[in-house]
Symmetry: D2
Subunit: 346 residues, 4 copies
Amino acid sequence: MSEKIKVSIVGGTGYTGIELLRLLALHPNVSIDQITSRGDAGKKVKEVYPSLRGILEHCFVDSEKADLSASDLVFFATPNGIAMNYAKNLLAKGIKIIDLAADFRIQDLKVWQRWYGMTHSCPDVLKKAVYGLPEFNREKIKQAELVANPGCYSTAVQLGLIPLLKKGLIDPMTIIADVKSGVSGAGKKSETQLLMSEVDGNFRAYGLTGHRHLPEIEENLSVLSSTDQVKLIFVPHLVPMVRGIHATMYVDCLDIFDPLKVFDEFYKNELFIDVMEKDACPQTKSVTASNICRISVHKVPNSNKLVILSVIDNLIKGASGQAVQNMNIMMRWPEKLGLNLIPLTP
Amino acid sequence: MSEKIKVSIVGGTGYTGIELLRLLALHPNVSIDQITSRGDAGKKVKEVYPSLRGILEHCFVDSEKADLSASDLVFFATPNGIAMNYAKNLLAKGIKIIDLAADFRIQDLKVWQRWYGMTHSCPDVLKKAVYGLPEFNREKIKQAELVANPGCYSTAVQLGLIPLLKKGLIDPMTIIADVKSGVSGAGKKSETQLLMSEVDGNFRAYGLTGHRHLPEIEENLSVLSSTDQVKLIFVPHLVPMVRGIHATMYVDCLDIFDPLKVFDEFYKNELFIDVMEKDACPQTKSVTASNICRISVHKVPNSNKLVILSVIDNLIKGASGQAVQNMNIMMRWPEKLGLNLIPLTP
Amino acid sequence: MSEKIKVSIVGGTGYTGIELLRLLALHPNVSIDQITSRGDAGKKVKEVYPSLRGILEHCFVDSEKADLSASDLVFFATPNGIAMNYAKNLLAKGIKIIDLAADFRIQDLKVWQRWYGMTHSCPDVLKKAVYGLPEFNREKIKQAELVANPGCYSTAVQLGLIPLLKKGLIDPMTIIADVKSGVSGAGKKSETQLLMSEVDGNFRAYGLTGHRHLPEIEENLSVLSSTDQVKLIFVPHLVPMVRGIHATMYVDCLDIFDPLKVFDEFYKNELFIDVMEKDACPQTKSVTASNICRISVHKVPNSNKLVILSVIDNLIKGASGQAVQNMNIMMRWPEKLGLNLIPLTP
Amino acid sequence: MSEKIKVSIVGGTGYTGIELLRLLALHPNVSIDQITSRGDAGKKVKEVYPSLRGILEHCFVDSEKADLSASDLVFFATPNGIAMNYAKNLLAKGIKIIDLAADFRIQDLKVWQRWYGMTHSCPDVLKKAVYGLPEFNREKIKQAELVANPGCYSTAVQLGLIPLLKKGLIDPMTIIADVKSGVSGAGKKSETQLLMSEVDGNFRAYGLTGHRHLPEIEENLSVLSSTDQVKLIFVPHLVPMVRGIHATMYVDCLDIFDPLKVFDEFYKNELFIDVMEKDACPQTKSVTASNICRISVHKVPNSNKLVILSVIDNLIKGASGQAVQNMNIMMRWPEKLGLNLIPLTP
């Protein structure tokens, strides 16, 4: 590839932003143009993230003043409600967009507005947005101008359910997803509840009254698996660790079948999905620092239930890695470009 | 209480053993007689556990050679299959027993022998053993000569389910218990899978092919709640932390009722059970170093499902604290004696 | 003790505040009157700290509006610069004060004002303040109306050095203190650098350009050991854990002597100091949740250097536990009252 | 590079072994031939390390039976005392060796034998071994047939001292190295003292009676800096984290000079050494998963002392990454080949 494309990152100071920079800095086909930030504008990126010393010489540019017009593709690693204000303008200039936030993840406008508590500023653009779960939406992503990168919980849960839903093998109305996440999923926010002193040695559920990933999952599971309606009980938990998501899912089978075979077949050509053998369980650390999702499926004896386990690194396959994977697909590059990462052990 | 009873601890080198020593050393009504150990016999307790320097001057005595005959009560903090070999003899001498291992937790001998892979050496004693979950078995514990202290998972799960089962409000055949434990629950074993380098930053399920606490829970739930049969799907997970158990339970209601009211009523006089308000979630760290179990219950909107959360410190309410509570009941002492512990924060 | 004294806590929402509440709630000779807070005024204490559910029913009172006049003794667990504004008034009413912050730790006013960047509001009160390191200032604490509770680093460092300095056995001008602290020492501040995602798996030095505990240590070491001048190189580090301080100190001997004997003699009657045997090293976790300081001393072969190790729980012997110890001394109660705590293991 | 060399790894099951496999699997110029193990012989590598699923299909070969004759270069990631038994034979066949253990790190045979408690089996080979600290031994490494890869502590300490020693700017006889390491440095050993329950939340010194890296450091510091004799006080500590070493060093200046300038000059062309600006401090996590060593140097006011901070990832620059760097040098490849790694944050 003789010529690189120019990419910019809006919102480079959060954890998905820094992870995106880490991946893009080594990606052979891109050069990084602008990196914006509200809080850190003017500072060198490497001052805020010493891990990038010697790697990136960029300064953070003020989000309001950044000139993104020279970019071929812009990543939004911003809070929710930002990308939608830039989208129309950028698309009009022929600039592609990958939004790592939630602005374009839910097509049902009413649902979105209720859960995110704001009015969507570009419903027309939303209609053209493509949900970026490559394993089940690759063809649409290829054509997309704007990709909505899935949430981290959503990625882990959907990759563990769609094969079974798509074949109509499980009851779409009785799914339970008991999910657990490392604390980096909550972002780099100065909240006392995210302090080391509060999180370390502590395990807790949260969001029992409702989590925003639930409507995202229900809608997209339904669309991607061609199922009329999907309902989940979704209980997220905070794990005293930095990276990793573990989804434990309980489903009711509608038929007798070999679930491992179903998964093996669906994912046999997928570069980033690893279906484990019978009785093996995935561990979050076995995917840390990689774009891999590992899945196992377990029959419950004397029961029509299955237990499905699915693990990802929330910042990679659950965010920035999947965003790079989507970029590779949009650009018709090999899907593994810049993502040839082996998990870090121990 | 002018005179103290003498207690001995068989198997004092493990984590439940040391925790028991910590609690008993400050208990106003007991004096510690013998502390046995196979591996550490001859060593001072404080050499193995420097946290007990200045507290205990005892040496570990060889388990085979220890003279327990001067004891009024003996705690077994041993691996499974040890207490049953001592029980008959001790009981014959009028010595009470509290077994923190599993030898007397399951009355169904066949089930026990299948799960524990050994022949039970005293089925007749087993019949007289009382399951030591004080909140639901207090009267029997008062009369007991031998108490089987419940497992840690079993305690957290049962305290979250019995009130509803006892009133017949939930389906006993469709319960799901997604449970999470800190690593001290696995004991002080020199296994590579328990190393800091393996556990830290890692979350994983295990025991998908069967966990020994499952038959214990199913049998005792049935007995304590007067329900014919109870079936659970039970999936344990290892959390990268030392102490704490969090049980997340999913149940199907058979009726319309206010679950919080049910819990409040059942536990209103219980010293160690804290039922939380609507929408509040318990955290494991909020019970660390205490004998408390905190419980919350959550209705799932548009559904007949409830989510029940229950947290304990696995080494206290899930083991040694509950053992002291059982001793207090057996001795007709105030139940809180030696257990007036406030959780450690942060 | 038939009658309890009334104590109030100004600034009860921080980590030293909550630890103080935990200790005082079980102290047999005190009843807690007011607990103040700026940020959490009006809230129940147990709402902010669920670990105190069932223990304390108090609400936080606004610091400005709190009526402290019914108190016999007031603890300040506030930021620096608060207690000095209350002190004169309270003392005038015969109310004793223990300040856990730094307002009264340094007698040299110029030094204090330079390091703390503010004007001291009551230099006359400062003169009467007694530095609350009981092991070396017990007689003065007995008479004190206002005790300045030492800093956490200061406690660990001074307890490891004073015996040698007092006897003139080491060079007071060449001491190096390489100290390491868990993150709770930084308090409950919503700063991104204290987030779990930043601290976990990370070890770093800080404060190389100057740490406020340095002048506190230098002045008090000099006074308490009757040495003209003491100079330290002091390098603090942040350890990825919640509780605990470990001080590693390097000193030059001026003479040939048995250092272990010196420590043993100085501390032989001290309830909270544990001098370890030759070649043993203390661990921070062996004092967690207790008021103990463990110390070891090591000769460097072929050298006149000693290495001294000293560990404490920064929130207990390094803050709230020492404050209770000081109260006990001021009230002429047994020094261990309410502090009979065994470290938590594992 | 059209043709790849064949490399084998003897002892692939430990933490330096798995890290070497991770790096070599992505190295463009090598193909992995044999991977040996005593304990895991016969098992697939990916069974033992699920992080390598989809990456390596090799089985572990029994160390005794492995045929290494087809290899161009063999890495030893074994316990001490193994490589020396293979070395002569392999070298005779023209096979290069990089030993990650300690067999060839110390030229003084008596010193080695005293510290390692065994007789060296090939003193003649030892004489030809080259100490693999590339920044100060590059030319010799280029010519070497056998490279002794430095210890992890040794790397961090020496990179922070040699520039000053080499210029004769500091006193070589009064150096203090207070070093701290994550627990992966202790290897994958099933010892209770390395359990999560023992290490987490715990900080402790160890090896006060002598650590094997001390003679390695003293000898090599002397040789590499052309100083007659170097003496250190060396105190290692265990940090409750998995990866990372932080060395805090205290030295006495013999002259007045700008230490930052000295470091900047020495390291200006080094790809893996990052000298930080005045007053900045390196963090271990800022080098995690990379081959970088970050160094800062700090003048102590009113003193002739310097404090030098040096951090590395113990498994990479402190072991397997440095081994790959040495291979690159031996093979005259670009030094960064396969080591273009950006630290993982958060």
